[in-house]
Symmetry: C2
Subunit: 250 residues, 2 copies
């Protein structure tokens, strides 16, 4: 089941930037993680060892991603052409802005990447992103990791982020928040009873031939977005109400 190619076009606009990576094996594993999710653009800022046989070995079938990787002497050069730099970081004090969780960030980033290039920035394995590097990021992202051991391997962090971006590109969305006071079921039932009576009263619904009108209305009100046909029904209802409304009673 291959997804429609256009949906995944955004992935070609995503650059993974690994800054000051110590272990070449991690660069190889990161390349593999990227390719499994359809990311191909890798940029390296002052890697300690690259190219390196260990990077090749751990990239497995993603040697092509390594071979196309660009090595840069500065972060500025690695980010050139991107409209947003997103830094992966642990939750910590003193960050310039609150990090988004990876899922929310991925949805936002894919929206941007459909039009323009973006960068994901991963710091050194031990020290993470420096304050200077963090300062160059317009967005920060974190994982909801175990607070007792939030120490993800570099390639594991790349893997989760690449996975979330692919899910977002494929159309995964965020569930809505539901911190609202919901109507009681019995009140909703009463509403539908009154709605049906009203629709009969204004002669939109023929009780002898009710068809599927009420189940349709129920589904619409139980859901989020209006369908075309539902909208036509609502318009029809309004037209009827309007006809009645033209008769002034006072």
């Amino acid at each position: 089941m291959n997804p429609p190619a256009a949906k995944l076009d955004a992935l070609a606009n995503i650059r993974v930037v690994l800054s000051h990576t110590s272990h070449p094996g991690n660069i190889g594993s990161a390349a593999r993680a990227m390719k499994t999710m359809g990311l191909t653009q890798l940029a390296l800022v002052q890697p300690r060892h690259f190219p390196h046989p260990e990077a090749d070995a751990l990239s497995a079938g993603a040697v092509d991603v390594l071979q196309a990787a660009q090595v840069h002497s500065t972060l500025e050069s690695a980010l050139a052409g991107c409209v947003i730099a997103t830094g992966l970081t642990r939750r910590q004090r003193g960050l310039s802005h609150e990090p988004l969780d990876a899922r929310e960030a991925a949805v936002r980033l894919i929206e941007i990447a459909r039009l323009q290039p973006i960068a994901l920035l991963f710091g050194n394995e031990t020290s993470g992103l420096s304050n200077e590097e963090l300062g160059k990021c317009q967005m920060l992202v974190t994982f909801p990791a175990n607070p007792d051991y939030p120490s993800l391997n570099l390639a594991a962090a790349v893997q989760i982020m690449a996975y979330e971006l692919r899910m977002a590109a494929l159309g995964a969305r965020l569930p809505e928040a539901t911190e609202r006071e919901l109507a009681k079921l019995e009140d909703i039932e009463f509403f539908f009873t009154r709605l049906e009576e009203t629709l009969i009263d204004i002669r939109f619904l023929d009780p002898a031939h009710p068809k599927k009108l009420m189940p349709r209305l129920r589904r619409m009100f139980a859901r989020k977005q209006l369908e075309k046909e539902e909208l036509s029904i609502l318009m029809g209802i309004l037209k009827q109400i309007n006809l009645k409304g033209k008769v002034k009673v006072d």
Copy 2:
């Protein structure tokens, strides 16, 4: 920001079972991936080498997970006590049942794991799960990987699945499907124009004092569930329409 402990209790009911793992380093990396997301129960079925210094090295700060790992000679013994075995697999022909994607599977599994132990089963690095092992799974899970290179490293697969389970335990839900024909924006705008006119016409809306009525209605129609206050508004509208409807025009 530590989440409420009770939410994460389900993670203690999740057992990661690695079957016939060839490389001890992968066992160590998998243990690390598990611990970063709060999973601690590791079971190994006939690992080629275990314990092994390479496993310890790659587990980094998760040596405790390795030390508590149970080694089994059979899959049956590794699964004992679990109410469901979930096999991680690539999409392929001839599977007994269609795999779920990892996100949906995680939400379902966490619901079960809140009450009873469950197992995640990962096969050998090269050959994956055998047909016999697949036959012991009541649920299959797959990642929406790049069809040209779906070859995730074992620990990377553990990492994504552990991440999805932690997200689900923390309350992440699935968005609704939207395979529907949606109304066009201009049609929706026209609807709101007519709705407002109608509400004025039937004297529910006073154009001199419109308050927040129309923005409220817009939000309601753009969203999923009716709020109590929205329902009151709709009931009020119906009451008005009914008053007019009582006047017979024919």
